[in-house]
Symmetry: C2
Subunit: 333 residues, 2 copies
DNA sequence: CTGTTAGCGCGTTCAC
DNA sequence: GTGAACGCGCTAACAG
């Protein structure tokens, strides 16, 4: 295992010079730098992360904390983060936190505190107060994507506006009997993403003078969306339009409608949120939130924080856009 | 930032004793251990990964190398790995390698060699000889899931058998005009997963005395599967059954069939491989390979290697199973 | 521009 | 069962 002194010997310089030549910190003459680089290359020297980090306090790694790995939104954002960080030579350390309280504590109180990372990115993580404090206590830059917590630098789409946009689209087509599939009023936090989307829905309806509507809670999976839609569409006065708070649920709703023999959009209009690649195949109209781009933006934000930039105060705003693929239309009756 | 000597002082012992008490290595009296543990807890002490790793040579992290993050199979396997590793207190360091040669070299020659990880898991990674040697040179346990390289301990389903199973299922239903969607004969390595599945298909047909069949290369996405199926099904003597080497492609094939006005399975039978959750919604018959379980198995394999067990020689075999959901049936004519 | 030196924070001998 | 002291491999400060 070749170390810095092997390189120093091979290049005929001191270890300090090797360190300077390789890290680029500190002045080294071009000639010696070349000697060092070639010696290092020849010997296949790579600095030890542990030793370097012990000496500098930096790790060249960013922690990414996610609640799920195997859902489209999360893995897509993660891919975006990874792209941007790899380009800059950072490693990603992945922390997947489940709902299990003991395991969550272990991640926040132990794993994340091992000084293994220079910064943290969270993806749509709903933190309790303790966890939020624990994160801040790390003393490293933190960027939260779509996390509702006010103590953190947050990068998020305006989910209230997303909800309003989707709803306005349906109202604009002439729908008056609408329903929403998404947040659970009981379990979801008031400032959570699902709740904001639902509130956007409700606010728009209120402004349109519509007070009758249904909200079915669902778990953001195809399966959950399908079951929720089945309940809504089985009624006598079934809604003519559904707004699902995610594309996966919207796709479930389309599938449920089909099973009930309903045509989309002739019998029922359906709109989602996300920009899931699968949406194309279902002709799903949606509010795209450019998940991959969110990851890249977050990565760039932590990188610039690591470069010494001041964190943008408050929340950065991420783009979203209505994509009409045909699953919505004017109601028939 | 509380260090080991803070704990030592608070507990009235030396740092050596704190280290022993917390790591469990070395004998400590119950009384002093309790004092140390309580002091550590009170102060919120967590060992520094860098310092500990520099002193011990161990990092309590496992590197996971993937070619894609945002595809179902990979994120699902990753979730399984994460589950199993978190339970044992290991962190995951994620390395996503694209096809870009320079970037790949950086990952293999720099990132992975920073001594940041105690072991490596690769997921369906096709390594060239140099990369494989580079991995072995790390001197840490390596477990490859579905990687074709013979130099590594590999955990894989018998993809030849998977191909045969799917094909036998179609043959058993009476199909004689079959086509395969999957490996590209030109670009895919002979021992790659896609190629093995295709060979299983071809071998089965040969045994059944069938020499006429089509193979359409596709890129394992819904889109690619759809286009490949469209080409196959547009022909006059179109096949009565399609075997797609992944569920995503099989779903694409189902969608393409629908667009051509063909009924599945009445007009064309379709079978996939994977056990993708979406398959349920399309009534897709498939060979499930239990992706999440593969991740767990791989994690357990590296953990036992880290515990000192000898790596199982050769290849571990992962389970697979035919799941009939109705997208295959006897041919009509 | 380069070398010397003193840690970074911890684990582990080796005495006691 | 416990403590003192050294070293893991590297970087930063200081001299020169």
């Amino acid at each position: 295992m070749v170390g810095i002194d092997d390189v120093a010997r091979a290049a005929g310089v001191s270890t300090a010079t090797v360190s300077r030549a390789l890290s680029g910190r500190g002045a080294v003459s071009t000639a010696t730098r070349d000697r060092v680089l070639s010696a290092a290359g020849r010997l296949g020297y790579v600095v030890s992360a542990a030793a370097s980090s012990l000496a500098t306090g930096r790790t060249r790694a960013v922690g990414v904390v996610v609640p799920f790995l195997d859902r489209w939104f999360f893995s897509t954002v993660l891919a975006g983060i990874s792209d941007a960080l790899v380009r800059r030579g950072y490693d990603i350390t992945l922390y997947s936190v489940s709902a299990d309280a003991a395991e969550r504590r272990r991640v926040f109180d132990d794993h994340l505190r091992r000084r293994r990372i220079d910064a943290v990115i969270t993806i749509a993580l709903e933190l309790d107060a303790e966890e939020s404090v624990s994160l801040r206590g790390l003393g490293v830059p933190i960027v939260a994507i779509a996390g509702p917590h006010p103590l953190l630098t947050t990068l998020t789409v305006d989910d209230l506006a997303v909800g309003r946009l989707a709803t306005a689209h349906l109202l604009g087509l002439g729908h008056r009997r609408l329903a929403h599939i998404g947040a659970d009023a009981v379990t979801d936090a008031a400032s959570s993403v699902p709740t904001l989307r639902r509130r956007g829905f409700e606010d728009s309806l209120a402004e349109a003078g519509i007070t009758q509507y249904d909200v079915e809670p669902a778990d953001f999976t195809i399966d959950g969306g399908s079951r929720a839609a089945a309940r809504l569409l089985a009624r006598d006065d079934r809604p003519t339009a559904l707004f699902a708070a995610s594309d996966e649920m919207a796709i479930g709703a389309i599938l449920a409608a089909r099973e009930l023999g309903l045509r989309v959009p002739d019998d029922v209009s359906i709109i989602g949120v996300d920009g899931h690649e699968l949406g194309r195949w279902f002709g799903l109209t949606t509010v795209d939130q450019f998940a991959r781009g969110q990851g890249e933006r977050a990565a760039e934000a932590v990188l610039s924080a690591l470069d010494g930039a001041q964190p943008a105060p408050g929340r950065g705003t991420l783009p979203f856009e209505l994509v009409d693929r045909g699953s919505t239309a004017a109601p028939h009756d």
